[in-house]
Symmetry: D3
């Protein structure tokens, strides 16, 4: 199975909170891995990102898609 | 600084590829951490997610927002 | 009315489930149509997409915007 | 393979346009299928969606994830 | 025309930068208006948002859909 | 603090509606500001956007990330 997405992270389910329409699931990630971000070149230059820089990657939970084999 | 997002991951920039309008940045994540996903309760029940289940989390690079202090 | 989006699909409402903050609406699509995806060139090459290939297009419900005239 | 997403559409690749960082892929969808949208209950009531209503579903190409087996 | 989205902002095009696959368009917004955000209740409580609080709203350009009549 | 996003809007919280899993927050924006959109060059040409054109910018509330210092 091949996904057209840069980020594929192995994780373990920790908890599931079901709501009326939406649910919130939490996962534990233990392995080191690589992540990728696409942003405008303008933002990239404004941040002046250089190899070695420490950043925080922010991802809204709604954009995380769990897949189970 | 407090973000209205569940996922905040410390990462190190590894490479930067600048395009005409969009750029692709890669990061290394070494620390274990927690992730969260919001999905419809319907999808959640279809996947039948239970604590301990192994899943793959798919995230398009476009949804990853780098923040630099 | 002109939308700055590649995918515009005529559909019929089948059901509406209202929650406290979010609602889930289902639609029926009967006409053949075209869809478009934007992904990183890296992902595109990894998938090695060629005309004629069969794929599954995954779209989280949160990214579908209904418009009514 | 089970996806935590409501919309999974079988499609055939029609064309691939590779750019420096991002690529645009077009697909043909021939089978009737169901789609789902999640929106705020407020928006849902403002649209006053009822079974049988005709709507247009707008989806930015960036939110479409192709998966290939 | 009725959109299933909370945020609809009147704006004027200022500049257009066309790339090979993606383009970046800038707009000027002069009128006061209201915006809405949906986040997990958990994030909402962590931020402890109260009427009168000053915040910054971050939106990736990829999530802004221009519509022209 | 530097964000890898084009749109950063100062706003004041007006109301908070907490649901079981998701919450809806409304904000007031009073200052004039600039916004940016990234779309496919194809969509951009189809819209034929020119400086001075009046458009409506549609943003689903789920894509708005509040940050509080």
């Amino acid at each position: 199975m091949n996904y057209g997405a840069r980020n594929k992270i192995k994780a373990t389910v920790k908890s599931v909170k079901k709501g009326d329409v939406m649910s919130l699931v939490k996962f534990e990630v233990t392995l080191p891995f690589e992540m990728a971000s696409v942003l405008t070149t303008e933002s990239c230059e404004e941040l002046n990102l250089q190899p070695g820089d420490i950043v925080t990657l922010i991802i809204k939970a709604i954009h995380v898609l769990p897949v189970k084999e």
